[in-house]
Amino acid sequence: MTETRAPNTLTPSSPAVAPGVAGAVAPDTLLRVDNLVKHFEIRGGLLGMSRVGAVKAVDGVSFSVRRGEALGLVGESGCGKTTLGKVILRLLPATSGRVEMDGQVLFDIPARGEPRRRPVYASNEAMKKVRQNMQVVFQDPYASLNPRMSVGELVGEGPLVHGMTDKKEREALVRDMLGRVGLNQSHIHRYPHEFSGGQRQRIGIARALALHPAFIVCDEPVSALDVSIQSQVLNLLNDLQAELGLTYLFIAHNLAVVEHISDRVGVMYLGKLVEMANVDDIYANPRHPYTVALLSAVPEPDPHRRKKRIILKGDIPSPANPPSGCRFHTRCWLREQLGRPERCTTEEPVLRALGSGQESACHFAEEISPEAVASAVASSGPTVTAEP
């Protein structure tokens, strides 16, 4: 499957393609996620022995990522983005669903209600290979680096674990990586606390790159950084992608940041994907009422264009007890406009393709029009109240 590469040179895992056209030129799928479910059990009762419920952190998510593409994943706190990333990487066990990476099935676990069959898991040996091919960069550059390891040890750890035992060879690789992420190569013996937040995030990126992965999950890689540092790291991620043909799953809550990095974007709400489309389409023409509201809530840095917003009612409901039917129905402006059709509360919408190539999980996606949005904005008065 993956070619074997010289240990201390970084070769693109696929021809480098300019961001934005990746999907068009490289249609082959690198990652495929089918009906992925991750429930965290809530235990209660005497001694916490009984199962009293479940946090439905990820609740039936399917999508695929093409080679060389950056897929952005947005959504508000607690909607399941991090959990989704961790389950794909097998850092957390899935409840059910199937994930295939570069032709290798990582796991395939039947869902509840599906005909019984044996769950399939990739062997440890196969997983070791896969792990080399998919890496992660976390949000918090302070917490995710072991403070007792030097930069050289941190970046060289993966190659060591994967059999690069020659010390000289490893050091050469580490120096190459540090150069690539814009760190001073002479800092190889320093420790994380000696670096600023932005530099630590660069160490985290070098660490992820050291195994020459094809696929990197970036979970909020810039949200802990100062505003003037964020763009340094975003540019670095963009450059590395173009240079090495990397494929990203880019998780973030900042919509402007996601727009900047991504070729396609998926929007999550309460453990579900509610919309998926090319970045330009989704930002210009959102086709799910939640995406419309989310985009309209972002304040634009231009005082001449103070936006009129759709202000949603209330907070996100608990993922332990999601609303019936469409999970967004408790806050949905379109449902109100349509006179509260029953279908919203009784039938769970599935992600379906609309004519434009966009996918939306709203029964009434076709009713979203500039007029409908304008009227929702108008009825979002300044005095807003929350709903229970």
Binding site: P19, G20, S231, P301, R309, L312
Partner: protein, 352 residues
């Protein structure tokens, strides 16, 4: 509005040459360095800057929350004709919560976890006014309804942990505003919230501000929020104010190179995404070793344009570029304007 009357009315708040330094084991932390600004009644001033630039310490100084034993503080803070730095602790205590109030990023820093929210609000009433228990509770309930707490008559007896993050934020706002303060300082009030809840809270603060005629200082690092709510903006960097201007001037005719850097480095949804971000190189300065000249000099692209290496050696003053526009930079104003307009033209050219 009544602009002729406003012109003669002195500003509600006026901070003059405020400096706050904390002696620490590693050296003197110069958190706030010669900061001056003023806010007119009923207006919103945004203080924008990245983490560690001195925004919160400035706010704490106005609130009288700086521990005078641990810090060296100089300067003047005038609130409605009264100087606050020289005020005895008990008089400052009386002002806090009645004349000036503050809300924070983390609502639990002002809410006590073991008391019901209603009791905490009535406590805030009793601290400043002699009101009967029944009247106070009615007032608290009304305020909870006003800030959009659903089923407030039930929620008033909840403990903070029973409320969602957005609702706690609303309770904190209710508590801050219950005595109708003249000045509200909001220190990153929505940084921990999701954008849809942020939109609710900013909308709420705005409508309460006009209803109660409150003057607001909004502290944030988000240029989107600034553009959305502020009448005027002060940009802080390395403990100093480097630029002050009316909001539209700051975004469309900025002059200070750090402000320019911020405006061109932050990803924005209204700009062409294929355009490369222009990051500010390097890192913010350490407050223990602030650069001797201009605090921004180690990261500034334009140091070579100033003769004699002045950027590295001489501290620029905050000077008028226009009557309502102050800039701290050695470059001549015309040159700064030229740099800014060239840059903004490039940025706008990329927009769809």
């Amino acid at each position: 509005m009544t602009s002729p009357a406003r012109a003669v009315e002195p500003p509600l708040l006026s901070v003059k040459n405020l400096s706050v330094a904390f002696p620490t084991e590693d050296g003197l932390v110069q958190a706030v360095d010669d900061v001056s600004f003023s806010v007119e009644k009923g207006k919103t001033l945004a203080i924008v800057g990245e983490s560690g630039s001195g925004k919160s310490v400035t706010a704490q100084a106005i609130m009288g929350l700086i521990d005078r034993k641990a810090a060296r503080m100089t300067g003047e803070i005038w609130l409605d004709g009264q100087e606050l730095i020289g005020l005895p602790a008990d008089e400052m205590q009386a002002l806090r919560g009645s004349q000036v109030a503050m809300i924070f990023q983390d609502p639990m820093s002002s809410l006590h976890p073991f008391y019901r929210v209603g009791a905490q609000i009535t406590e805030a009433i009793f601290a400043h006014r002699s009101v009967g228990a029944k009247a106070a509770r009615a007032e608290a309930l009304e305020m909870l309804q006003r800030v959009g707490i659903p089923a407030a008559e039930r929620r008033i007896d909840d403990y903070p942990h029973q409320l969602s993050g957005g609702m706690r934020q609303r309770v904190m706002i209710a508590m801050a505003l219950i005595n109708k303060p003249a000045l509200l300082i909001a220190d990153e009030p929505t940084t921990a919230l999701d954008v849809t809840v942020q939109a609710q809270i900013l909308g709420l603060i705005g409508s309460l501000q006009s209803e109660f005629q409150i003057t607001v200082i909004m502290i944030t690092h988000d240029l989107g929020i600034v553009a959305d709510v502020a009448d005027d903006v002060a940009v802080m960097y390395g403990g100093r104010i480097v630029e002050v201007a009316p909001t539209s001037v700051l975004y469309h005719q900025p002059e200070m190179p750090y402000t320019l850097g911020l405006l061109s480095s932050v990803p924005r949804m209204d700009r062409d995404v294929s355009m490369r971000l222009e990051p500010i190189p390097g890192n913010p300065p350490s407050p223990i070793r602030l650069p001797p000249g201009c605090v921004f000099a180690p990261r500034c692209k334009y140091v070579d344009r100033v003769p004699g290496g002045a950027c590295a050696s001489a501290r620029p003053e905050l000077l008028h570029a226009a009557p309502d526009h102050l800039v701290r930079c050695h470059l001549p104003s015309e040159e700064r304007q030229q740099i800014a307009q060239d840059l903004l033209r490039v940025l706008a050219g990329g927009a769809a």
